[in-house]
């Protein structure tokens, strides 16, 4: 299959790594995706400054989401952690470069969790990885979906989840898109089966897709983004879906191709 034959073909992988991302897993999957699409890779490690700023505020209190335990943030410790993380990731990016045989742009971005998304170009596939506790923040979910709408798509990788052996499950709004995206899925699926469904809209696709993918132990869930503006219904569907998902979610935006 030639590249020209692909209906959806990202030219660059924008690997966005939050500080709590599983870098090793992300690099391995970036390698696979870059090879599948012969895409360039740009890696961005997001160093979230807000937490550092909060830590500098002596009056700020931090509460554990699960335990409800109060604790004071330690600015020094947070800074050291960020430094170690960046060093480790640099090593892994170098290894990724060696594997790919071409340069991988890499830098550390200081800012918010979604600041890196603003760099996404229409031909980019954003590979966003990190703890999904951030998806509880509606603003961040909105930013992610907006970035997906402005680029080729968005790949969300749950932390600590290897790709499984089940099928690739894809949900589209039209049969035409399903047919045209099939070669893409074949590249992504390897030897896995491909299971395709037609759905009404993105929020329904996210709900049904996450249920199916969990039941089938899917290798990858692919959802076609519709061209409407993302709304609260989408946000909820994405949050609920990501809570139960045990496989990566690829939101494909064919309208930018």
């Amino acid at each position: 299959m030639t590249d020209a034959a692909l209906f959806w073909h990202p030219r660059r992988l924008l690997l966005t790594l939050l500080e709590d991302a599983d870098c090793t897993l992300a690099c391995a999957q970036t390698l696979a995706l870059a090879r599948a699409f012969e895409a360039e890779v740009t890696g961005i490690l997001v160093e979230e400054t807000s937490i550092h700023e909060l830590a500098a505020l002596t009056v700020c209190t931090h509460v554990g989401a699960v335990t409800g335990r109060f604790q004071q943030l330690d600015a020094t410790r947070l800074a050291a952690q960020a430094e170690r993380r960046a060093a480790l990731l640099r090593q892994q990016v170098e290894a990724l470069e060696a594997e790919l045989g071409r340069r991988v742009a890499f830098r550390v971005l200081q800012g918010g969790a979604v600041d890196s998304l603003r760099e996404a170009k229409p031909h980019d596939l954003i590979f966003y990885t990190g703890s999904f506790s951030r998806l509880e923040d509606p603003e961040q979910v909105a930013a992610l979906l907006e970035a997906a709408r402005q680029s080729s798509g968005l790949l969300l990788q749950p932390p600590r989840q290897q790709w499984q052996e089940g099928p690739v499950i894809a949900l589209y709004r039209t049969a035409e898109v399903a047919e045209r995206l099939l070669p893409v899925l074949q590249r992504l699926s390897g030897a896995a089966e491909i299971e395709q469904h037609l759905v009404g809209d993105t929020s329904e696709a996210l709900t049904l897709g996450s249920l199916l993918a969990t039941q089938r132990h899917a290798r990858l869930l692919v959802v076609e983004l519709d061209d409407r503006q993302a709304d609260e219904k989408w946000y909820r569907a994405l949050r609920q879906g990501m809570r139960r998902l045990n496989c990566p979610l690829l939101l494909i935006n064919p309208h930018q191709q």
């Binding site: 909060l54 209190t61 509460v63 989401a65 951030r134 049904l208 039941q215």
Partner: protein
Amino acid sequence: MTSSTPPSAPGALPVEVLRRRIDPASLPFETTAELEPLEGFLGQERAREAIEFGTSIERSGFNLFVMGTPGTGRREALKRYLSKLAAQKPPPNDWIYVNDFGAPQKPRALSLPMGRATALREQMDAALEDLLGSLPSVFDSDEYRSRRRAIDEEFEEAQEEQLKDLREEASQRNVALLRTQMGFALAPMRGGQVVKPEVFKAWSEAERQAAQEAISELQERLRSVLEQMPKLDKQRREKLRDLNREFAAVAVDQALSDVRTSFADLPQVTEHLDAVRTDLVENAEQLIAAPANEARLPGQPVGPDLRRYRVNVMVSNGRDDSGAVVVEEANPTLPNLVGRIEHLQQMGALITDFLMIKPGALHRANGGYLLLDARRVLLQPAAWEALKRALQNGKIVIETLAEHFSLISTVSLDPQPVPFSAKVVLLGDRLIYHLLCQLDPDFPDIFKVAADFDEEMPLEEDNVRNYARLLAGLARRENLLPFDRSGVARILEHASRRAEDAERLSIRMRPIADLAQEADYRARAAGASAIRDEHVRDAEQAAIRRLDRVREKSMEATIREILLVDTEGRKVGQINGLTVISLGNFSFGRPARITARVRLGTGKLLDIERESELGGRLHSKGVMILSGLLNARYAPDWPVALAATLVFEQSYGGVDGDSASTAELCALLSAITQIPLRQDLAITGAINQFGQVQAIGGVNEKIEGFFDLCKQRGLTGTQGVLIPTANVQHLMLREEVVDACRAGTFNIYSIDHVDQAMELLTGQPAGERGDGGLFPEGSINRAVEERLIAYAQRRLALGREERGAREAEGKDSVQ
């Protein structure tokens, strides 16, 4: 009889008694093809009655022990008999094992009417197959998704509502509620933005204090909100569980409806189906979400694990009304008897479940008959005890050898015992029966009926006809050519020979069947349409030929005079005894030289065989008997002053039995009297203390053994064999021997008393005590007595001389 034989000596036996002939013309058929096969118990009236009683009485412990020599055909006849009985009995129930959902380690045993077990398994498998499709469909349905989404959204809204309220309150108090990687942060805010640290430091003390207080208060609110989150989530999960149950129940009820309808008449199955439904409904979501099990058990399909709902058919008795079953377990190991629980090794662990329970012979025979070989059961570790427990307790408990010997302590299954009710028939030899009676106190209580199969039956007209019918059955079962009347007659003579009795027939059918098969082979090779006497005879001779290497070597050694046996002339203290050598299925007679030497002594009779530990106990007994006879019969008023030695010459392999005791006595009498014995005669017979000659075994082989030697050296007409009169009825000699006797070149004499033997062997009268208490002059016995008295007198004289010498020595020493 030679001219030197005294008139009182017995004459040679008439030819007619040397072999019982079956006249083919007396048999009322041409071939056995005309006969109706006999499939019952031939000549086993006693055993038949016992079996009929044992199989008809329906009481605890009335199981059968069928004893007898192997090869009597009792197993096949018994199986045929039991099969007929079983066909008249009601068909036994089927048995299945199913999962006990409350205690999976204790599978439940359920009984179903005949033929329903397999149907239940098939329908259950079909229902589970349906469920594999219908269950995901139900959970993929729009209705389910819609209701699930509603629950999720309700939770989302409740959660967001709580945080929204808190965020608004915080905002009003200029505090930002921020999400972090690990939770939430509360920070001072101004103008809708979190205050930078350097700005915050520039605040007045009062402002900072106010912010601190606001944050502290909001911390508590935040904590209570966060405490609500798990509760909300729990409520969500409970609602989801109820939703899943509701939808799963629809699919499960649909899938199980056919099974329920089919087995509505069986409350135990309905009860189990209720348990299956409850478990399926409860675990439907996990079943759908279950990973494709990498460590699958045998028969487990890829996908959700539905094994625990399946049915393990232990015993299925088909669907036709064919009555009870007759099961024969040829290898009665413990697991083959009581069943076993198989295990599968996975990742270093042994795993099992109720589907891996396998039935044993007890399960299969339940409600019918079970045939077992007693010796094999006793040889298998723990099998006998397990069989007894099943019979005593009336239930089959599956146990393993490892558990029995406490070798493993892993958690395994403990299946519910299956009630056991079958007639167990043990087959074994008599020794095992009597040992069990003696050594196992439980045995008489659980095997109350003994059926003793005879090995022989009288050679009578009815039995001859039934024997022919038995051969007809054998020919049909084994696909042999039919026997014509000459073939049947020959087989009957062979059976009589095997019985070692001219008036009886051996009913050990295995060797007869072997002979019949070989005769069939020869008949077919000859292109015959029926098995005739020559085919049977060829088969007999060929069978002997295959086995007679040792006999041939022994004969060769005797002819070459490596083994010394005279067949002519006369010798003092030397006689031809006869031995039988058994080589498995083949035995032959061999003459053996017996010699005796005497001298003055103290009355000790030295049996060299015993002293050298080559003689068995029976042989020693025979020698002691003849010693007693010698002491009591001759010179009873005189002390025995004889030292004698007796030996089987060139015997290196041990001698047992008392059949040579008459020969030994004759050799001893010859040695005492110095009267030579004829070497052209051989003798066999057991002696008693009164000189009577008693029956021995192997008479035909013994005669034929001496005949063969004489024939090799050339028959003289004086040669022959002396046998006990009691053995005449056992004569079934080879035709060759009979022909020689008819021609007068060989002779068989029957004797009742040692005197007759001595007269034949010496040509002199034995003599009987007269009125004066003395044997007549010139008789053998007179010579014996005189010689013994002479020994005694000599001994007394020697005693006196010795005493005189000692007394003389005593006087000398006093002086």
